[in-house]
């Protein structure tokens, strides 16, 4: 029990109200553990021994169970074990991953030593596939996996983040640097041209994969799941694996499995950590003197911005304000999770509770999740089995949209942040053109603003299974999912949000419910010991209903009522609502056939009917086929001892993605307010989208060739995948020319192709020769994807409005190419080119007609990296472990809205009006080619060209040093295992990043839009948002 004080101390860093609550939570855990520990042991007779591997080395961690009981133990660091058995007839089962399990009857012996034999049949492991499980050796499709161990290596608040850099073919891009933001997941690239986000579209067409939790499709944010409840993620990548999900399969499928009770004695576990977060780096801005010089240059060019009285005084006195330093604070992250699991032959159960809280470096931004989950599996007699899995959570997200970065980065460093008495100076820009700008430090006043989202989610999966006859099984899955999402925002007048204007408040409520019913028939039989057949048939239906309402108001009489009673407001400003209901009916059949475990074939067919399509166009079919050849089982391979596994796979199939909103085929009217005369306000309704009864899904046909291998009794394993997919009838939420009368329409036009290579390697690089010696293993993944639009329809090759170009990746950048700055002495050429002056941005005359015009825009690159990869290194020495997770992206471009001059987000417009990123700007005395002359206008012409950078980077994701307490120490307690660890997460700025070299903080994307490049309003960009943080975490894992 000596760890007890440690827990309390680490978990309670500050005497705040929340930490007290956290403390009492920890206390109760410790109390609970204490009760468990005091349970007396039962023992009849004792058997002990040593377990060694085939080389004679002691094997720690081998599982030993008395067959038919829940009585079990594991070997300690020296391979020693002892276990009590009831009588001589007891049978001990020894098992260890990668080794064949052995059963020995105790008999008269009291000492049983054993040598474990490595198993070439390691691949008998079972993996989760859609609508069931399969032996790994039977898999014919392309899959990726993240084991429980790998998930635990990177503590995350959102489970999908743990995929970043871990599984080949999966690209994770952040959409927020704040906790609670959901990353964008792309499996093998993008194929739909639909906008990823559309502010008018709550459920936009997209490229997101389907997520399935415990067999039931999961809608909405994955944040609702507690990562500690998840024991594995299986990713289906190719069509032969995803075709069973038909119209939802083409973006890949992520199968999430939650914790399940195992037969054996009850195990109680606690996982917790606490960490401190601070900014990875500050944005590089002008200091006071540099800003003054910069502004003077702008004035020379014609701007008229004079220093305010404060600025003049501070400049003389040599004072300045580092706004970022004043604002950023230390954040923290903490997580506690407690779980109990166990089971008998008849009943298995698992329950858990979790708490997570994460704050940022900004006031008013934090994220908390309370979760409760459970799972029960019960056998009723010989033939019937039922079970329930339930995941419940309450998420509270504060300040998710609160972004004071504009003030923080653009307020003059010569302004005063505080009054003489130390209080916050509300109007630091007094005397300037932006005199009403409020001090960002006012955000610390939590009574003047609030922004909070509370989401309650309950996700339940119920199943019943009946063995009808031998080999034939009926199963029903029923999923019930309900969530409410309640959002409120209030911005007082004296805040940087309103800058003195009337206060505003908004409340929105969203409800979503869905049910899924799946009827499955599974037939499994082996004929003549050679032919193995598994047939699955499915009939399912799903319906999703969402309903939301919102209201907003301004000019509330007081700040402290926040958004809790909009009825108090003097001016109601808006009401809104939304409703959508959609259904899906599906039939599916799948057959797996295996001949002598050598030759395997899978055939699937699915038929989906959807309410989102117009009647008569609702049903489509999705076939797929795949074959695999276990070469290492051939006789001719029996002499090749080094090869323990060799499998060749090939598959092809067709899938879709459900990138159509409900009611899209019907057309719609939009509201426009108008007044006839002084008082008759009324709403008009204009056509905003046209009916399109021909709307259908887009179809993706994928071919996948894969090779799995294992060498030296699977000390080195790996796989290589080659794929090509062709998406046709691409759904385009396509912007139309204005002459059409509507802004955009959803149509099935065009083709997109994706192809790529994925390599995965796992190996034990260094195996310790002696007990507790140095060991080193590593997982490596490397992949690339090449997406290309091959057709846009109607002979269009360039669709600049949407940013789509035939022959280019989907996220191509089409703009002028900046080749420098017009210099003194080039006046004549500059004027001829288009009336430019020295100090203007000089762009390439691409068509060579001697004039800069729209035809000079060209493809500059795309977001698509040349390749990506990740390495997880695991070192072991004595009881210490060291894990290092790294990932890299090479090539591709990023769009930085910080550096892109855009008068709508004027960070780097070089107007002279505001501070901004420190850049090498042109002056008559500094003939640089980097950035234009300050003070030319609200935005330099071609300002968008300043924001394009090479996106290459390498990042160390986590470094974790862990210590496993030796079993010998723990023997005196009832603790089964105890691990403590310290972890540095995101400890360094990105390496090899040209963007970081320029002064950017982090090359990872932070949000959608904000770019003034054509077509880029809805794509991921690097924005000057809350800076990313580095975290230092200490944690503990205990099992009883």
């Amino acid at each position: 029990m000596k760890h007890k004080p440690l827990l309390i101390k680490k978990a309670s860093p500050r005497r705040t109200e929340t930490s007290l609550r956290r403390r009492s939570f920890c206390m109760s855990i410790v109390l609970f553990l204490g009760i468990i520990l005091s349970t007396p042991a039962l023992a009849q007779s004792l058997v002990k021994g040593t377990v060694t591997d085939e080389a004679g080395n002691a094997m720690p961690g081998v599982n030993i169970v008395v067959k038919g009981t829940s009585n079990g133990t594991t070997t300690d660091a020296n391979g020693l074990y002892n276990i009590s058995v009831a009588d001589n007839n007891a049978v001990l089962v020894f098992s260890f991953i990668g080794y064949g399990s052995q059963e020995l009857t105790v008999g008269e012996r009291t000492t049983i030593d054993l040598t474990m034999q490595p198993s070439a049949e390691q691949l008998n492991e079972v993996v989760v596939v859609g609508y069931g499980t399969q032996k790994k050796s039977d898999i014919t499709g392309a899959m990726g996996q993240l084991s429980e161990q790998a998930i635990r290596e990177v503590p995350v608040s959102n489970i999908t983040q743990s995929l970043q850099g871990r599984v080949a073919g999966i690209d994770i891009q952040n959409t927020s640097s704040r906790p609670g933001g959901a990353p964008v997941i792309r499996i093998r690239g993008s194929r739909s041209l639909g906008n990823t986000t559309d502010p008018n579209n709550p459920n936009p067409p997209n490229n997101d994969p389907l997520i399935v939790v415990d067999g039931i499709p999961f809608n909405g944010t994955i944040n609702d799941l507690n990562p500690n409840d998840i024991v594995s993620m299986d990713i289906l990548k190719d069509a032969s694996a995803t075709a069973i999900y038909g119209s939802r399969g083409s973006n890949g499928v992520i199968l999430i499995t939650t914790r399940q009770g195992k037969k054996g004695k009850p195990v109680l576990s606690y996982d917790g950590y606490y960490g401190v977060a601070s900014v990875v780096g500050k944005y590089d801005l002008y200091n006071g003197e540099e800003f003054d010089a910069f502004r003077k240059e702008a004035v020379k060019a014609g701007a008229s911005y004079a220093p305010t009285a404060d600025e003049a005084a501070n400049l003389t006195a040599g004072n300045q304000t580092d706004w970022q330093k004043e604002m950023y604070k230390k954040g923290y992250i903490t997580s506690h999770s407690i779980a109990a699991a166990g089971g008998t032959d008849e009943t298995k159960y698992s329950i858990s509770a979790g708490y997570l809280k994460q704050t940022t470096v900004m006031p008013g931004q934090d994220y908390a999740r309370y979760s409760l989950s459970g799972r029960v599996d019960q056998n009723i007699g010989e033939r019937v089995k039922i079970g329930l899995s339930t995941q419940n959570s309450l998420n509270i997200n504060d300040g998710e949209n609160a972004n004071p970065m504009f003030q923080l980065l653009t307020l003059s460093p010569l302004y005063n942040a505080y009054n003489a008495d130390g209080s916050v100076y509300n109007l630091p820009a007094t005397g300037s053109i932006d005199a009403t700008t409020r001090n960002p430090l006012l955000l610390r006043n939590g009574d003047s603003w609030r922004q909070q989202r509370r989401r309650l989610r309950t996700f339940n999966a119920l199943y019943g299974e009946v063995k009808i006859v031998d080999g034939l099984k009926y199963r029903i899955n029923v999923g019930l999912d309900f969530s409410t999402d309640n959002y409120g925002a209030y911005y007082g007048s004296e805040t940087p949000f309103q800058n003195g204007a009337a206060n505003t408040a908004t409340v929105t409520n969203q409800f979503a419910s869905s049910y899924t019913v799946e009827n499955l028939l599974v037939y499994e039989k082996t004929f003549a010991e050679k032919h193995r057949l598994n047939v699955t048939a499915l009939f399912s239906g799903q319906q999703v209903e969402t309903y939301g309402s919102g209201m907003s108001a301004q000019d509330l009489p007081s700040d402290y009522t926040l958004y809790y009673n909009l009825g108090l407001a003097n001016t109601p400003t808006g009401l809104s609502g939304n409703y959508a209901k959609s259904g899906l009916i599906s039939y599916m059949a799948r057959a797996n056939y295996s001949y002598e475990d050598k030759y395997i074939a899978t055939l699937t067919i699915r038929r989906d009917g959807s309410s989102r399509l117009a009647p008569g166009h609702q049903y489509f079919n999705y076939p797929a086929a795949a074959v695999a050849w276990n070469i290492h089982k051939e006789n001719f391979m029996s002499n090749v001892a080094v090869v323990s596994n060799l499998k060749l796979r090939f598959g092809a199939g067709r899938t879709s993605n459900q990138a159509i909103n409900p009611y899209s085929s019907l057309g719609a009217l939009g509201k426009m307010p108008y007044n006839f005369g002084p008082s008759a306000g009324s709403f008009g309704y204009a056509v905003t989208s046209m009916p399109n009864p021909d709307l259908k899904w887009e179809f993706t046909t994928t071919y996948n060739l894969g090779l799995d291998f294992g060498l030296w009794t699977n000390r080195l394993t790996g796989s290589a995948e080659f794929y090509k997919s062709l998406t046709t009838d691409v759904l385009q939420n396509r912007a139309l020319p204005p002459t059409s009368g509507v802004a955009s329409v959803q149509q099935n036009i065009g083709k997109v192709q994706n192809k790529g290579i994925e390599l995965t390697l796992s190996g034990v690089i260094l195996e310790s020769k002696t007990q507790g010696g140095l060991s080193w293993s590593a997982d490596v993944n490397w992949f690339l994807n090449r997406s290309e639009i091959t057709e846009l329809g109607s002979g269009v090759t360039i669709d600049a409005t949407n940013g789509w170009y035939v022959g280019q990746p989907i996220d191509a950048i089409f703009d002028y190419r900046k080749i420098g700055i017009w210099q003194t002495g080039e006046e004549t050429a500059a004027t001829t080119m288009g009336g430019f002056k020295p100090g203007n941005i000089k762009v390439e005359d691409h068509d060579g007609n001697g004039k800069i015009d729209a035809n000079d825009r060209q493809i500059l690159g795309s977001l698509q990296p040349k390749w990506q990869g990740g390495i997880t290194n695991r070192f072991g020495f004595k009881n210490f472990t060291l894990d290092v997770v790294m990932f890299a992206k090479v090539g591709g471009m990023l769009v930085s809205t910080l550096y892109q001059a855009n008068s709508n987000s004027p960070f780097n417009t070089l107007e002279g009006r505001r501070n901004g990123p420190k850049v090498d700007y042109w002056t008559p005395d500094n003939p640089t080619n980097a950035y234009p002359r300050p003070g030319q206008a609200q935005q330099p012409v071609f300002g968008s060209t300043l924001g394009y950078f090479d996106a290459t980077y390498l990042k160390i994701r986590t470094m974790t040093l862990g210590y496993n307490f030796p079993q010998t120490w723990l023997e005196k307690t009832r603790i089964g295992s105890l691990r403590v660890y310290a972890q540095a997460s995101n400890p360094f700025k990105a390496f090899f990043s040209p963007y970081v070299k320029e002064g950017g903080v982090d090359p990872e994307t932070t949000g959608f839009g904000g770019s003034n490049a054509p077509g880029w309003n809805n794509r991921v960009t690097v924005q000057p948002n809350t800076p990313p943080t580095k975290q230092f975490i200490v944690g503990v894992n205990i099992k009883y």
Binding site: S611, F676, G741
Partner: protein, 645 residues
């Protein structure tokens, strides 16, 4: 086991039937136009669409400056449509088309809705045929109004949105054609002829169009076509007949000239008898009170900001002045040309319209801004202070602040008072600006020897008499006492007014060689404009002579005096073929000798100032259209751009 099978059966049956049926409950579909309320709601949305064009920066940049009337003020925005250079086609800056998009993007959604109303709405049940006809006639007027703007700006445009000419679009496509100019005018005139027959004699409700609106626009459409390459022989006669029908039957249609020019645009006198069509913002119940000066997104694009654009920079380096509601938010966009100030308004004594259109005096509203006390030296030099423009001069007293609240702080001296005020130039408590004598670029308007800098910010064009037709001082929730200067206007924007009907008739008569009748028409307007009863004869005596001598130029001069800043000038110049000549002569000054610095010094090399060329009588089609559309029938397969862009 039996019950299990029953369970399976139940699940299988129940999950099937209704799941695929779609019932939208969160939005309206186009079928709504088949109802009476739907038809009205459709029309309302089309009325609303004009809020994006009138009184907005996009619409005003296209019609107010780049003319002989106004040039750009100091705080020019991109793209500079005042300058006829290569940057005119604004695509290079935002990839879309800048201000050019304002009519282009807004017109077609409104036109499509009109098409839908006219097509689907003819099936509407529950009203009489006459009522239905009147409602559909409103749609025809509104559709023609948008096409009038488009054709006047871009030439021949698209009539077939996808499902056939003037049809409701149900087959979205990126294929689009441009129709010949003649076809476009024919469509406009057909719509307006029908509308002028089918609309009621008086508006069915306040704010809606009626017969007068259609007759006015029809007259203008005939007139414009008459000048164009698509002219028909009868056009000028039709223009006159139509305008004259409105003039003759003005009592029937409830329109008349107001006795005093000042009251036409006066705040509080909205919906007066002279207004033939206006776009509305007024709203007392605050439901749609979209006048927050810092609004973003759609709201910002449909605000009436006409009260911002014409203001000079009275808040920078000006003694005694801070931004307030009475003087408005200075956007410093449109500066009157010296031609407008000195030539067109050469007579500011008999013609009251200069004083009634322009603010030339700013009264001190802050005693703490640049307001030092008189020194003994000032007093010795003979300094005087003045309570208001033209009032008694009081000798300065040493130690006393120069300005008190309400004192004149800035005065833009008109040309006929120059000799009176020049001696006091440096001895006053307030700032005097003179029209002709200044050589400093800070002069309120340049003489023939000064110049116009363009491109980016410049210190020029900061100070000038400011058009006050759009003054608006309404209260906004949460604003400080006395009003919030940043509030946008919620006054209606007058689009057609009856005074212009006389000038349309006059122009048609001139083209019909009935100069005497034309002069009579013009004199109706000039009589009303006379400063007093005694000035009437001066105002009218020479009209026929001037008209005979100067022809259309005289009508253009008269139009600018009557209609300055009312979003018509660019069209007037293009219609009459005078754009190139007049902009060259009256807007652009000779090339600037270099960069004008904040202190007034000039450095750097000379600028080349582009003048309009003949092709500039059409605006470039916005890049967003060229990027988004294909036209297989045009060479190159792209949507045809206007020549030389």
């Amino acid at each position: 086991m039996k019950h299990i099978y029953i369970f399976i059966l139940i699940i299988t049956i129940t999950s099937c039937s209704d799941i695929l049926k779609e019932e939208p409950r969160n939005a309206l579909t186009p079928n709504y136009y088949q109802t009476v309320v739907g038809l009205n709601a459709g029309l309302t949305s089309v009325y609303s669409s004009f809020k994006y064009y009138y009184g907005t920066e996009g619409g005003m940049n296209l019609s107010v400056y780049g003319t002989d009337e106004f040039t750009h003020g100091q705080q020019v925005t991109n793209p500079p449509l005042n300058i006829y250079g290569s940057t005119l086609n604004a695509a290079m800056n935002d990839g879309k088309g800048g201000d050019l998009q304002t009519p282009w993007n807004r017109a077609y959604s409104a036109i499509n809705t009109c098409n839908g109303i006219i097509e689907i709405g003819s099936n509407v049940q529950g009203i009489t045929d006459d009522q239905k006809k009147a409602l559909l006639a409103e749609a025809k007027y509104l559709r023609a109004h948008w096409y009038f703007i488009l054709v006047s700006t871009f030439g021949g445009v698209t009539l077939d949105l996808g499902s056939g000419p003037l049809k409701f679009n149900t087959t979205p496509t990126n294929v689009a054609h441009r129709e010949p100019l003649a076809d476009c005018w024919a469509a406009i005139i057909k719509d307006l002829e029908e509308a002028s027959n089918e609309l009621p004699d008086r508006p069915s409700a306040q704010g809606r169009v009626w017969k007068a609106s259609a007759l006015h626009l029809l007259a203008k459409a005939y007139l414009t076509r008459g000048w164009s390459t698509a002219a028909q022989a009868s056009d000028f006669q039709s223009a006159f007949d139509t305008a004259n029908k409105l003039i003759t039957n003005k009592a029937t249609y409830g329109v008349s000239l107001l006795p005093d020019y000042k009251s036409v645009h006066q705040e509080g006198n909205e919906y007066n008898a002279e207004v033939v069509f206006q776009v509305d913002w007024i709203d007392n119940n605050q439901t749609f009170n979209n006048n927050n000066g810092f609004a973003g997104g759609e709201d910002a694009l449909r605000q009436n900001r006409s009260n911002y654009f014409f203001r000079m920079l009275y808040v920078t380096n000006m003694p005694g002045m801070i931004r307030d509601a009475a003087n408005g938010r200075p956007f410093v966009r449109y500066k009157p040309t010296d031609w407008l100030m000195n030539t067109a308004f050469g007579d500011k004594v008999n013609d009251s319209r200069y004083d009634k259109s322009f603010q030339t005096v700013w009264k001190c509203n802050s005693t703490t801004t640049l307001n030092p006390a008189w020194t003994a030296a000032d007093v010795t030099a003979g300094a005087v202070t003045q309570k208001n423009n033209g009032g008694t001069l009081i000798p300065a007293v040493a130690g006393q602040a120069k300005l008190a609240i309400g004192d004149t702080a800035i005065f833009m001296v008109p040309n006929h008072l120059v000799s009176k005020f020049m001696p006091w130039k440096d001895k006053k408590s307030y700032v005097l600006f003179f029209p002709e004598t200044a050589t400093s670029p800070k002069a309120y308007f340049g003489s023939a020897n000064t110049f116009t800098a363009y491109g980016g910010y410049n210190v020029q064009n900061q100070y000038f008499p400011s058009l006050k037709k759009y003054d608006a001082t309404q209260f906004r929730a949460g604003s400080p006492a006395g009003g919030d200067p940043n509030t946008t206007s919620v006054r209606p924007f007058i689009v057609h007014r009856f005074a212009e009907t006389y000038l349309i008739a006059a122009e048609a008569l001139l083209k019909l060689n009935r100069t005497g009748d034309a002069a009579d028409m013009i004199n109706v307007v000039r009589t009303r404009a006379a400063a007093n009863a005694g000035a009437v004869s001066t105002m009218t005596a020479n009209t026929l002579t001037d008209l005979t001598t100067n022809g259309i130029d005289y009508i253009l001069d008269e139009r600018t005096r009557e209609l300055a800043g009312e979003q018509m000038r660019w069209f007037d110049l293009v219609r009459t073929g005078k754009l190139v000549e007049r902009v060259k002569n009256y807007n652009n000054r000779p090339a600037a000798p270099g960069t004008i610095n904040a202190d007034g010094t000039i450095t750097g090399t000379a600028q080349v100032l582009p003048n309009p060329a003949d092709f500039n009588i059409l605006r470039p089609i916005p890049q967003i259209q060229l990027d988004g559309a294909v036209d297989p029938t045009s060479p190159g397969g792209t949507y045809p751009q206007n020549p030389n862009y």
